[in-house]
Homo-oligomer: 404 residues x 2
């Protein structure tokens, strides 16, 4: 009988301690995240890239490499296999004719957070958890609230007051218990810690449990599959908590171990906002971990993470692939979002705009060559930021027109 | 050599006059829409449902049955193959255990309008058109503006002042020329007529050109394919201009002619808002066409269409399939949207909420049986309606909570 999942065990990302994956775990005793490990020999023996071609258009097409043990445990809103779009007009504009965008804006709740929520909630339910709690900058909370509603789990969300209004409405609309916190995501995390110990809920914060990462890594599988089981030269990723870039790196290492892609890895680039760039500062110092960023602020609210639990894994992914970390200003990322809309018809989020701005800077600096095939990771839809994007001066322009 | 498209000619939906599909056409001389006709024998001889299984996850998988003649003419943002979700919890709530939702919220620009814009803009560009104009209630304009940006076509949009704010920002962000009109979509249509004759632009209004319909019909192909090449008992569709229900009907007739589905057709249901229900009034009178609706108003702004050009085709689809037309109040459709969010984690638009409300009423009336397999067509994401949905009282509730 073929297994739906070939999950084998969990392994600490720092101290390499292994634990049983069959029961719910938070962090390793050493305080670092636990990573899901698979029986890759069994995967290789039972499935090939060709077998995947006619599977359903969702991230569950990679189920052997995901942690959920049975199809009936899958909690799905139809997530995954987002478009990988060629951007010829924007690429010409930036001097990068082979520019591509992995566009996550069409996922349930409008962001890539749906991937981690799908696997995280599915696995939580499978392991018997009935209530989760988490801090969020907005989009992760909305996604987890949606999947908890779908699964019938209770969901407790703590969110900074400054988070996008629409994400608050999603959480409460999905029936979650929403707590508004004065402060940033770290303060929300502290609130959750108190809630968790008082309520007996499961802490599903970023990298606090192993399975959100497994959903996020499917971005890496999809990019490779959509390119015909090869990788691009560079992937540029907007980095807050960093689960996506950690996940893409993990995915590509798994595909290498399976022999599904060759030896080459893409250079992984972490983009941050100039107002909150702890990973960039660490990278520039050649450090293995980051220091907390003081007075963090950026319109790209999703990446306002002053101190990421997985900072060392983000930096590992960068160093291991010969990538880099770069900061862009709010003005640069907003202008870049506008360029993407005008030239390609893509309405991307501010965090996605940061990747466009980074591509421009890296090309100007010569870090990117004209011949490089570059994938931008747009993590969500501009529709989630009605007050930020494509609006300010446009609104006046529209109103000043006379009726036709 | 196999043809990418088996488009054969255009045929008037009313007088059956045929015209050459190789040049740009608006309406038939008799004033009715032109429909795309295909060489179905050639399609049957060259492709089978099995052949489609491993094609890319977009509506272009049906390219033989679409009007664009070559792959290089395709203007795409990665549209199509949206999820067909089982809704077990909402279904139980409504007494319809086999309830499904075709969820169009993840398409580019967040609504099903992307389908028609993809085929319409692709074909317009292929036929040498360089500027289009259209009236819209918002979402179609946003979608056409996006695809025009992607294609490099100029785009002129006329929109009622009351249309959702976000759709105006999308249009201008995509570089379209936006005109705000005092009045409803009919008034915007009159404005476009003046613009078209003054500017030499192509009128891409609802059913004014043949190819938007061809994109919309792919909802019908996808539902059949996702059910394993069979049809459900009922499809419930929120009806404004009606292109979607006309397209689904056309698609199913084409699949029958190909022998890809059996003799049974789903009963097609047109839902309208009680504040703008010309099709419902016509259906209740047994009429073949509708009368203009006075004082139209509903929060489901996308279906505020007092007099649809394709009204007779909507009614044909209903009568031919043994369907019906039904009106729901704004309170009912908003409450139904909230039910869908709370019970299934789906954040649907007010128009989608109308289908949930209609399912409830039709079940209560006995028109739907508990055993019926019912597909709701959610035409877009609730994210496009931040002021309408999941918000009003929620906003206060959130603010009144103390920080955790």
């Amino acid at each position: 009988m073929t297994s739906f999942s070939h999950l084998s065990h969990l392994e600490c990302a720092r101290c390499a301690t292994t634990v049983d994956a069959g029961v719910a775990h938070g962090l390793c005793d050493c305080g670092a995240p636990l990573l899901s490990r698979y029986d890759l020999d069994a995967v290789r023996a039972t499935v090939s890239p060709t077998d995947l071609a006619d599977r359903a258009a969702s991230l569950w097409r990679y189920h052997e490499l995901l942690p959920v043990s049975a199809p009936e445990s899958v909690v799905s809103l139809g997530e995954g296999l987002t478009p990988l779009l060629a951007l010829p007009r924007l690429g010409t504009h930036l001097g990068l004719p082979r520019l591509l965008m992995k566009d996550e804006g069409g996922l349930p709740t409008g962001t890539f957070k749906a991937r981690g929520a799908a696997t995280g909630v599915s696995r939580a339910k499978e392991l018997g958890i009935d209530a989760i709690a988490m801090p969020t900058n907005g989009n992760a909370g909305a996604a987890w609230a949606a999947y908890c509603a779908r699964a019938g789990l209770r969901c407790h969300i703590a969110m900074p007051a400054q988070a996008p209004e629409i994400t608050k409405r999603e959480c409460t609309g999905f029936g979650a218990d929403l707590r508004i916190v004065d402060g940033l995501i770290g303060d929300a995390g502290a609130a959750v810690a108190a809630m968790v110990s008082a309520g007996g809920w499961f802490d599903a914060g970023t990298l606090k449990e192993p399975y959100r990462l497994e959903g996020k890594k499917t971005m890496g599988y999809e990019i490779a599959e959509q390119l015909g089981w090869r990788v691009p030269d560079v992937i540029i990723y907007p980095t807050g908590g960093g689960v996506g870039i950690i996940g893409i790196h993990k995915a590509l290492l798994e595909l290498q171990a399976l022999g599904w892609i060759g030896d080459k890895l893409p250079r992984l680039v972490a983009v941050q906002a100039a107002g909150c760039a702890p990973i960039v500062r660490a990278f520039e110092a050649g450090a293995r971990s980051s220091e907390p960023w003081a007075d963090a602020h950026t319109v790209a609210f999703g990446i306002t993470v002053p101190h990421a639990l997985g900072d060392f894994l983000v930096l590992q992914a960068i160093y291991h692939t010969g990538g880099c970390a770069i900061a862009v200003s709010d003005d640069e990322l907003l202008a870049a979002s506008a360029d993407a809309a005008r030239l390609e018809g893509t309405f991307i989020c501010p965090e996605g705009g940061a990747t466009v701005a980074a591509a421009r800077l890296l090309r100007e600096q010569g870090w990117l060559a004209e011949s490089d095939e570059v994938v931008l990771l747009n993590t969500g839809s501009g529709l989630k930021y009605p007050e930020t994007l494509a609006g300010q001066d446009v609104r006046d322009a529209v109103r000043s027109r006379t009726s036709a």
